[in-house]
Amino acid sequence: MNANKKLGVFIASAIALAVLPFVVGSTLGNSWVRTIDFALLYVMLALGLNIVVGFAGLLDLGFIAFYAVGAYTFALLGSPHFDIHLPFYISIPLGALCAALFGLLLGTPVLKLKGDYLAIVTLGFGEIIRIFMNNLNAPINITNGPQGINLIDPIQIGGFSMGKTIDVAGFALNPVHMYYYLFLILTIGVVIMAYRLQYSRIGRAWVAMREDQIAASAMGLNIRNIKLLAFALGALSGGVAGGLFAAFQGFISPESFGLLESIMILAMVVLGGMGHIPGVILGAVVLTIAPEILRDVIGPLQMHTFGRMIVDPENARMLLFGLAMVIMMLTRPEGMWPSKRRKAEFEDAKKG
């Protein structure tokens, strides 16, 4: 591609991304814009996990814990719960920092663990965080237990709150639209960070460690430091996404941070194409949007063909979703959009 063509593609996709919420909002309704907002949050999360699993090759089944830490930090610093109302440009970085610290906290004891032992410990760590959030309402009420935290401040820039619909020159700008742009900007930031990391010295060190830890350390890499860095940087983007989630929802409870969520994010990374940034983005978008499409399609389809509901749509939706996950993995075990390198490895393995 020459420079002009590249610029053309860039401008076209920028315009497409800029008008997307309005096109979707006016044709499919604002609930779909909301789904797109969530897709962006999941892109951030999946890219964060991709650093840990895809780049550094450390299987993490408790990634949602960092999302939870980010969300709770934001919620506690901006809600009537403690009556603290810090602006978002302080509480989101603080949340990200807290998440990164938790990343180090998790990373330090598990430095020696490998493979499935690492997976089960990270899983346990995720559960521990969730159980604490569920129970830290007594004797001192910190997290408000299973009820969660309500009335979290929306993001405010200057005197302008993103929680209310505003009128711009006769144009209704909904919260979902405003959050879309905020999420888009931050997602682009995370994508750039991921790319810069991938091609940096650290990124190459991660790949070296993933492929052969002993050889990597023989080449002078400090395995301890780069492992901890992978955990901390992955957790950082998880924490940012968590803070945004809290502001966007206005309500969080431990229920949103279960093991199933961790597994879903891992599925996004693996189904998309582990270690390949465009693939991971695709995986996150597809896995967020597919269940919503199924939700819209299954109910009416049954009414249309049978005249009544045969199967509870929620049930059928998850059934098909699970089946789709199995079939996708069986037909494309390398992911939907793998990197060239991984694809080549797969072809080598097939030849045996």
């Binding site: 499935d116 346990g124 159980i131 129970n135 891992l266 993995m329």
Partner: protein, 309 residues
């Protein structure tokens, strides 16, 4: 002292069930090196099928002693779960045998979702009570109590574990299983049909899982489409705690985890001056796991594995 003994007894019952399920995980892991995430769902199906069979029999007006009814239920549930385990391996794992490790993990998770949803379709979303056909007579043990049913559970678990050990150590099938776990390619060259052995492993593990499912259902007097998830997670934790791939380790890990959990639930309030309550029971299990793995990175009885490039 009574509380202590009581918690040890409760832990022993819980732990032997964990151990039985953990064996299913560890056998599959030992042979194929993969976490069979759908094993918890097999456990759940075992419980559900047994309850269905028992309810059908009792509603048909057949009057039989409780244990016989449970036995009949098991005779249906065990083959059903064996078939389920066999199908899981055939559909989700065999095509991916040479793929990287994460691919079968994702198919297993997908299958877990499918099986849970299938269970909702068949049995609904509500808790299903276990039919009140077993009596809960208690036995007094130095001031602590245990029901006859629980004694039965522990004895049956131990018998099954010993049986499995005999199969693995003494029979031709067991030798083939051990050979396959050490090196599938070479085992194949020696005339072992690797595919059959792997299927057999899944089938045996699923049979144990079905029995464990019924034990869970009788112990808590209920079953639920989601029950397989948490119990599977605990059992897998137990398998890792003991050193995954090691049968003795799974048994030790399971019983240890059960005892730690119930002791934790009984004493955590006193230990922390009432700061942490018994709902932190699950934390105890994971804390112990993390502590053990820090000092013994391949579990209690796991062998130190050489690095494979």
């Amino acid at each position: 002292m009574d509380i202590f003994l009581q918690q040890i007894l409760n832990g022993l019952v819980l732990g032997s069930i964990y151990a039985l399920i953990a064996l299913g995980y560890t056998m599959v892991y030992g042979i194929m090196g993969l976490i069979n995430f759908a094993h918890g769902e097999v456990v759940m199906f075992g419980a559900m099928v047994t309850i269905t069979v028992i309810s059908l029999l009792t509603s048909a007006g057949i009057v039989l002693p409780g244990p016989i009814l449970v036995l009949i239920g098991l005779l249906v549930a065990i083959p059903a779960c064996m078939l389920l385990g066999f199908t899981i391996e055939r559909v989700a794992y065999r095509p991916l045998r040479n793929a990287p490790r994460l691919a079968p993990l994702i198919t297993a998770i997908g299958l877990s979702i499918v099986l849970q949803q299938a269970a909702i379709l068949i049995w609904g979303r509500n808790y299903i009570p276990f039919p009140p056909i077993l009596d809960h007579d208690t036995i007094d043990v130095f001031g602590a109590t245990i029901t006859q049913l629980q004694v039965g559970i522990v004895v049956l678990c131990l018998a099954l574990m010993v049986g499995l050990l005999i199969v693995v150590e003494k029979t031709k099938l067991g030798r083939a299983m051990r050979a396959t776990s050490q090196n599938p390619a070479v085992a194949g060259l020696m005339g072992v049909n690797v595919n059959t052995i792997i299927s057999a492993t899944f089938v045996i593990g699923s049979a144990l899982g079905a029995i464990a499912g019924v034990m869970v259902a009788t112990n808590y007097d209920q079953a639920h489409y989601y029950m397989g998830f948490m119990i599977g997670l605990k059992a897998f934790t137990a398998a890792v705690l003991g050193g995954i791939g090691n049968l003795g380790g799974a048994v030790a890990g399971g019983i240890l985890l059960g005892i730690i959990e119930s002791l934790g639930a009984g004493y955590i309030g006193d230990l922390t001056g009432g700061f942490l309550g018994s709902h932190y029971q699950d934390i105890f299990a994971f804390m112990v796991l993390i502590a053990v793995l820090i000092f013994r990175p391949s579990g209690l009885l796991g062998e130190k594995m050489a690095d494979r490039a």
